[in-house]
Symmetry: D2
Subunit: 405 residues, 4 copies
């Protein structure tokens, strides 16, 4: 192996890779068919549930959580390789209890939850017995600027009262979804990064209503779903508050670093699979007396993708190492960078792979279109490219501006 990786991580990685290739990818067509069936009545897919239990039994479970007690004890750097392996199939992350937004939510509970909150929610999430959603983005404002947020958390005696509308609450349609982490404005004064709070909300609670599921390029991404969720006078005890009033921003920031590595490495895994599919098609088909791969600029595109993938992977791994060694505060620019780079890469490789497949490339019988759309969505999820470019530029200019003071 050309990368430094501990023996234990290498062994687990090999097992994850084998599981994805041998068991999960072959299940994709049946899964797609099952989710499309009009009479599926929200049932999970038994074969996938079986794989999940097998992973749990064999210890291929919670690999994302560096804590050795609750998780697998891998560093972000080590887990990054596994995330890449899982990224090769959109079905894979959940099989290892490593899918967003549950991973981020588990991290939040692990780092910011008190013992009671952890007992109530974290234990079940770690076991994969329940799922969760994260309710932050809002339909009516540009949520990329979080200070625009309109939802509110108000204190009424010993109770919290939540109001607002959230969307892109991914996972909210999952039959096992029990927990929503809600972020809202708890104060209109004080430092603008101390005005928000986070609250743990049981999904089936008076005042919580899933208005509709968002359809994304023709898919509701079942069984997860992306909900528009209304919170209408939702009343909860104060103990549902995470950390305390005004801690919302701090928690949100802490949540994102590792999560972006996961997203990015999965995108890279997807890109690798797409490149592989692209090459296979290019070698299989003939036109104008040649293999497709030998026509026009196809080999150049293969080379360009190889360069782009390798560079994106190294940037993610480098970012993971900085977080492991120095903490996420030292990697703010890098975290923003991988967010942009990996999502665009995934979309671009998918686009070219589609082109190599011709008509088959846009037929949903192959997963190319789904990867393409997923890459596209990833350029917006957790903040659009443009916001992250702004962050990178701001951090780049900072030393110059500091020197001028």
């Amino acid at each position: 192996m050309l990368y430094d990786l501990s023996d234990r991580a290498q062994q687990v990685l090999a097992r994850v890779q084998a599981r994805v290739e041998d068991a999960i990818i072959p299940l994709e067509p049946a899964f797609a068919a099952a989710m499309k069936s009009p009479d599926r009545s929200w049932a999970l897919m038994p074969e996938l549930e079986a794989l999940k239990h097998q992973s749990q039994k064999e210890g291929l479970w919670n690999l994302f959580l560096p804590d050795p007690e609750r998780g697998a004890g891998f560093s972000n750097y080590e887990y990054a390789f596994m995330a890449e392996a899982m990224g090769r199939s959109l079905l894979a992350p959940e099989v290892f209890n490593c899918n967003a937004p549950d991973t981020g939510n588990m991290e939040v509970l692990h780092h910011y939850g008190n013992a009671e909150q952890q007992a109530q929610w974290l234990t079940l999430l770690l076991k994969g017995e329940i799922r969760s959603a994260f309710c932050m983005t809002e339909p009516d404002v540009a949520s990329s600027d979080a200070t625009n947020m309109q939802a509110t958390v108000r204190l009424d005696g010993n109770e919290l009262v939540l109001n607002g509308r959230k969307w892109w609450s991914t996972g909210v349609a999952h039959p096992n979804c029990e927990l929503l982490i809600f972020m809202g404005r708890s104060s209109d004064t004080g430092h603008r990064h101390r005005q928000h709070s986070m609250v743990l909300v049981p999904k089936n609670h008076p005042g919580v209503r899933v208005e509709r599921l968002l359809s994304v390029f023709g898919s509701e991404h079942l069984p997860y779903g992306h909900g528009v969720v209304e919170f209408n006078q939702v009343r909860l005890p104060k103990t549902a508050l995470l950390v305390g009033e005004g801690a919302g921003f701090e928690i949100a920031q802490g949540r994102l670093g590792p999560g972006r590595i996961h997203h990015a490495m999965r995108a890279i895994g997807a890109a690798e699979r797409l490149l592989k599919m692209m090459i296979e098609r290019g070698l299989e088909r003939q036109a104008f007396g040649k293999q497709l791969i030998d026509l026009g600029g196809n080999r150049e595109r293969i080379a360009n993708h190889r360069m782009a993938i390798n560079q994106a992977r190294l940037l993610c791994l480098h970012t993971a190492r900085i977080i492991d060694k120095h903490g996420v505060r030292k990697a703010l620019s890098e975290v923003a960078q991988i967010k942009i780079v990996a999502a665009n890469l995934m979309q671009q490789v998918a686009d070219d792979a589609i082109q190599m497949y011709g008509g088959a490339g846009v037929d949903d019988a192959l997963p190319l279109g789904e990867f393409w759309a997923a890459g596209r969505v990833l350029r917006l999820a957790d903040g659009p490219d443009e916001v992250h470019r702004g962050t990178i530029a701001k951090l780049e200019l900072k030393p110059y501006l500091d020197a001028r003071k």
Copy 2:
């Protein structure tokens, strides 16, 4: 108006534009909902059918056909502006009986059909009473090289026998679809452009079977549908043959020139609408204390799209003029050029418009994702970009190679 356009064309154009803006675009959400309804039982949408009848009554009908008896008598140049107007909504072309593949099929019947064939099929198509599909591309070979074609047309006494599998037969699911134009290999010898024939096939005919509808980025594009169609020992009288044995290539070539102008101008119309939506969002939303339009490179993107749209439009109009004045043989490179330029433009503007809308951009409640996917498909339909780049390069090199002979 900054372009030369006859008064009659300007008047019709203005009426088409008004119809699209005032009547068709407002119908989009209801249409999308209607087509998604699980119990729609293939019904057409009454409101859209009403618009169609109104257009027919008012003479906004068959605008694409330059023949003044059968069509509206506009030149390709004149119709190009109307096609752009129709491109602003994916629903619009049919309202004016100007939607692919019927337009191309009507042109084929007009130019290559004999009187009997025209009486049987063209009259009904021109009235909009039936619809049609074009069965050329095949799933098992790289159809961008048409000499790869495997389907066959064999003569058996006075009968033709058709066998083969076709896909991307667009329109085949439409309740009114009655006619399939089928292309197959009728000989394995002779000039390679004289080995194929075209046959008029009634859709409901023994041996014709729609295996399944292709799902494209989550949509079956109802009520049209893209079918995988099996032709299994389909027997027809020899009179179903267009022109004669071996004329398939010639007809296919003649079919494409004007059709590509239509496609390209519609894509440009789509791009204009997408740019408009992008600007509107950019002016509506605020983030980080500014209008979105004033953040980062957004204004540069607006400027880039304006330049790209203007150039693409001028290239299409120029191509239309050449075809009008000198015939399609003088515009082979230009026709290939507009095919590439317009489809990529549409995809790119849609991509940036999505980005400006954030989460709303990938939600199917807005048509942005559908336009994006349609642009993507257009880069493959009627031959992938790469094949057309090959054509352009070949024509570009021809004088140099001729000079060396």
Copy 3:
């Protein structure tokens, strides 16, 4: 011919094309050698001067000036084709007395000069007996925002007093340069577009000093030269003022429209020649058992350049037509568009042509590097791309903002 063009314009165009191919391009290597000679003592090249006299004698002269008395009487649209032909060689424009900045300066004198000023300067410029420079851009401020200008024109009794430093005063080193058109701030109050004035300055006048010639990518572009020019207490009679105090902006705006068409069409001519050279090299050389043109994405690049050139040309011609029919005020966005599009095109085609030539591409024995650098410079001359993108976006947004008022 695929474009509408009067017979007279077609005939002149053909003669210009022939002169460029047969007489001017063959002179390039000798010209380059002559200009590099360390003992050239600012001599012009006799062969080029002879070509110039021949053009003048034959009426291939002042083709850029639409005025039929003073110029050749061609519309901007007609001249655009000739400008393209001249753009194929960096030496060509002067041969037809059509080189910047003299063309722009002649237009200024023609439109804004009074009879006396015209008698003194315009006549000689039209005869090609003197040359001129335009002194606007300044080294110490971002001149793309003209309101930054620091040079001053002050009234002192009946005299004007000029002070300031200008650079990129192209043509100032030419042995025949006699006239500088100077722009400076004449007032610090009033409307910000009425604070500047333009003055006609004899080059050899007390207080005018060429500090140095700018070296651009290793070339001083002799015999023209780009000077840094100091104006130190330059005193001139009031009659040297163009139009009147405060008219500087108005004149500068009027000067630019046609000039940008000339620049853009020349850039397109350059791109055509570069594409031709690229193809010729691609067909001449062999590597890895194939002609270079058949390796990798080379044919795709040829196709891409063909599409880009055609589109850029159509955009320029369209802009020329608008100016001819409706005046430059109706073409503000288009003028900015062609400025960007053509310069970038020229640089890009040159870049790819260089790549096709390998080591020979960066050797100054061929003109590829010079075209590449000229394209690069053109992205800055008369305002950087970014400023023009800003203009386009502003004009694009205007109707939306007006509607909101």
Copy 4:
């Protein structure tokens, strides 16, 4: 520091960085002026020579050579950081005796020279007392395909006879240049990678003639120069042969791996300096009421360059590590990748930096144009991008093709 680096390497790196910033960069304008002076009579610049001696004395010398006896004993990974530091000024590498092509030539002599050859040439090169050139590329064939080579090495008794024309023999004009490494065809039969030989040729030897120096974008890159060199019946004893007949390809391959890391890291250093200059200008200048950096997409460009630079650096470092650990045979694709990525990056950042500087960006008073041209040349030196893309694609496809056998 965010990268793993030994203390010794960090200390040397810091000293190199300081030398470059404090002593070498400030010397650039004087050096440029000195090299342009028409009466320089090939003199070296005394201040630069002094810096060189200082570096030698202080042990900042031959840092590129991993051999601890002859060089500084740094791994390729460690030296990569120093190469980046040197890349910030085009003058820096020679100050540390680390400039191409001497570094590659020293590596060749170190790895492939026999004791006698090393005594004659390597010792002097390591001391910096002589310089050398590499004569491989030829003007008359596409040298990117080395099997095209036409120059010959023939055995005539105990003598070698060399004939042929080479170009891009960089360094051949340097007053201290004493050695040419010549590659020519020694056989027309046998394996195509065993038909070439390398010979050590004294520069001042009968039959060796520098025809002319290539002028690259207006510069002869003095004091190094890129020569067109004629070898006309050059006779040398057989002992001048490196390794033996037919070893030319093997030596050429071995020469390139580390050299490409050096080139690439220097290009990255250049890109970092260019980005710094771009930011500084963006913060200094005002236009339209804002700092340039805050106009249009400038911040996005800063962010894009930061992402690209970081990724390119990581790819180079990763490649260096593979070479250090596993040898260059395991890094063939990566070596090709960094060659492409770094050169394009350097050109691109230079291009944008030029744009930010406006007119000053293309004036040779600043080094921007020189960096831009150097990046451009680097896309051709040691093989054009396209050849390296071909290599990457070939290696990418290999396992698929092997699996099909």
